[in-house]
């Protein structure tokens, strides 16, 4: 048991560190420190401009798309080197936020399923920060039951005509390309009638509408498709093979070394500075008990990441760490926000940053946290994944088993 780099890894880390020291946009550090998980918040500069500039700089120096082969614009780095890079890049990694769906999900799907010419065309543009990708999977009626999507693609000569609606699409407003899951045959089994495409987001007939979220932000979007025409050449996988292609995307939704922030260090600070009649809140036994329960989850996730890095460096497949991390951190984000507000007393209901403690950080966390428990796999889906894939428990018994898609009961057919 040790925490040391191998000599090769140490050499990689030293190279990364020295390049970063000379090149990071230090003027953005303050804003990046405050920027939340998953979406980049910048005020002094346009976030997309800043993101593209940083990505291009990395690409030109050979630090972009680390794990991809060189012919697709990558650096051919090992998984452990990617972890080291993330570690060293630190908060500046948030600048690549708009590209993450491309790097983590769409890119690997293109690598696995597109033609060689398409890969050489699309992937270097993504690596260089020229193109932003989004993922067009979820629909109003298909979230956890993703294979129940209804957006229809109908063949017309060597093109497809797409009609339908996608939802929860981050980055749709900025995206150049979308990875689009469609239903091409509603008369066969649910998972068999799907086909995957990639689509130019500037195509006629695509309309992006921002969603006003309950926390007053609009990061997520709806995307409407009205007679959108897509060339058959932009199909990924065979007709009817869309679910298999989608699984490539979903299996790649894994982040190493990047623990989700939960607000715990800030909570610890709050408990240290908040005075009660009996001294700082942190000296109260009940406060300590709750803090300790949070603390061992935070450290447990951190050390679990160390364990998975060790496994990766031995060439083992990643395990269920990401499901555990998201399940625990998501719930804890909400719990910590509520606990902080409780400690703040009546002042806890203030959300005006000029009056609320900590400039309303925990109030904002409270209002954002319901999404963390749903996005990218709800708490319940994650528990199913752990129960089925790790513990070997049986899959759910399904009411739609063996039925053609158009015969599956819906809320409409139940009326």
């Amino acid at each position: 048991m040790n925490f040391d780099d191998t000599p090769q890894d140490a050499e990689f880390r030293a190279r990364a560190r020295s390049w970063l020291a000379a090149n990071v946009p230090t003027e953005l550090k303050g804003e990046l420190d405050l920027s939340g998980f998953g979406h980049l918040h910048l005020h002094s500069v346009d976030r997309i401009t800043a993101a593209k500039a940083w990505q291009k700089k990395k690409f030109d120096a050979g630090w972009a798309a680390l794990g991809w082969p060189a012919e697709y614009g990558g650096a051919g780095a090992s998984p452990i080197e990617q972890v080291i890079w993330n570690d060293e890049e630190d908060v500046y990694g948030k600048l690549s936020g708009p590209f993450m769906i491309g790097f983590l999900m769409c890119g690997p799907t293109v690598i696995a399923w597109a033609s060689e010419a398409q890969k050489r065309e699309l992937l270097p543009r993504l690596a260089a920060g020229e193109d932003i990708w989004c993922q067009l999977f979820s629909e109003p009626v298909a979230g956890s039951d993703l294979a129940g999507i209804r957006t229809k693609a109908v063949k017309d000569d060597d093109e497809w005509v797409v009609n339908g609606q996608k939802i929860w699409t981050s980055a749709a407003r900025d995206a150049d390309w979308g990875l689009l899951l469609t239903r091409t045959d509603p008369t066969v089994l649910k998972h068999r009638g799907l086909t995957m495409f990639f689509v130019d987001m500037k195509s006629p007939g695509i309309e992006v509408r921002p969603i006003l979220q309950m926390n007053e932000e609009s990061v997520f979007n709806e995307v409407y498709f009205t007679d959108v025409r897509i060339s058959d050449a932009q199909r990924l996988g065979d007709v009817g093979q869309g679910w298999t292609v989608a699984l490539t995307t979903l299996m790649n939704e894994r982040m190493f070394g990047g623990a989700m922030p939960t607000g715990f260090p800030q909570l610890l600070d709050l408990c240290t500075t908040l005075d009660t009649e009996n001294g700082p809140a942190i000296d109260d036994p009940q406060v300590r008990s709750q803090l300790a329960k949070f603390a061992v989850k935070v450290s447990g996730l951190q050390y679990s990441a160390f364990r998975s890095i060790s496994a990766l460096s031995r060439g083992q497949e990643p395990g269920p760490e990401n499901s555990i991390s998201k399940l625990i951190a998501g719930q804890m984000t909400q719990d910590i926000a509520r606990f902080a507000l409780n400690l703040e007393g009546e002042a806890g209901l203030l959300q005006d940053p000029d009056y609320a403690p900590d400039r309303a950080r925990f109030q904002e966390q409270l209002m954002r946290s319901p999404a963390t428990r749903i996005e990218g796999g709800s708490d319940e889906i994650l528990r199913n994944i752990i129960a089925e894939r790790v513990l070997g428990l049986p899959a759910d018994i399904r009411a739609d088993k063996g039925l053609p898609f158009d015969k599956i009961p819906t809320s409409a057919s139940a009326r």
């Binding site: 048991m1 040790n2 925490f3 040391d4 780099d5 610890l268 600070d269 240290t272 942190i282 036994p285 300590r288 008990s289 803090l291 300790a292 329960k293 603390a295 061992v296 989850k297 450290s299 447990g300 996730l301 951190q302 050390y303 679990s304 160390f306 364990r307 890095i309 060790s310 496994a311 460096s313 555990i324 399940l327 625990i328 319940e380 994650l382 528990r383 199913n384 752990i386 129960a387 089925e388 790790v390 513990l391 070997g392 428990l393 049986p394 899959a395 759910d396 018994i397």
Partner: protein, 369 residues
Amino acid sequence: MQFDFSEDQKELQATVRRFFDKSCPISTVRSVIDSDAGHDAGLWRQIGKSGFLAAALPEQYGGVGAGYLELCVVAEECGRVLAPLPTVSSVYQATEALRIAGSEAQKANWLPKLASGAAIGTLALAERAGETLPGSIGAKVSQGKLTGVKLPVADGLAADFAIVMARGESAPSLFLVDLSGEGVIREPVKTIDPSRKHAILRFVGAAAEPLGGAGEGFALLERVRNRAAVLTAFEQIGGADAALMMARDYALQRFAFGRQIGSFQAIKHMLADMYVALELARSNCYYGAWALSVDSEKLPAAAASARVAATQAYQLCSANNIQVHGGMGFTWEFDCHLHYRRSNYLALALGGPSLWESRLIQHIRPQAA
């Protein structure tokens, strides 16, 4: 980074597991529960010969001289099989107390016997309900003679010596008492886990020699318990893993409403939560093992994290294991209650959860500038 046990340590784990598979079936645990014996003497002799529990002890004291990581590996296997052995008392606490505070003569006298299992040591601290604090110590040593009552004392009937917290001329100190001497009265006492028996020890002028400096009792105890907390946490995750596997296997085998109960989300999600708690505890334990093995300055926080997380995980897994088994889990015949008992005993064995939660926060709180 290599944040895992080595191949050799994993091989040791497999060896210890094979040893226990053969020598410590659940019938061994049950026979200790049904008898007056504090532990299984035959198993204790065998494990003494194997050297498994002497892994961390230097060779000069009859140990194997491997290290604490190896002892952690063995502890996890002890927990998995509910080993009815004086591990927490003798191996994780008395041995460590001697290593930390013993004079050369005390070490030379006792450590080789502890290493081989020829002697059993224990700590005698608590006297009444509530956390054991300096103000709660009534036992007193005067002119080398100890007077007072200690309960509960783990393995107090079988132990050859006790390390006793008592007042001397100054603040509470540790004293080493040979329990075969005059002035020691021992009585068995019923506890929540009869697979690890406890006693009441009454000292009536028993000969007591100082262990460590006068007035240093609680400071030394904290150092002992930081080490013992990591080792005990490995027993706890071993037990939690066993309870989880029992629950999983039963959920696959038991049918209700025409299907395996493990296909119901209510059961699946309960089991998923148990697995997650165990994995987080395991990761905290690995960090504690590392801190213990290199005697890191981070040991106090790492030990508290391992202790808090492992206690939670074992208590959750053992309670939910009964829940998954339904009514059958509440019978004496099913083994579920053995883990439930052990998990709740181990939760208190080194001071309860609140104590460790408080310590953890004390160690990680932001320091005033």
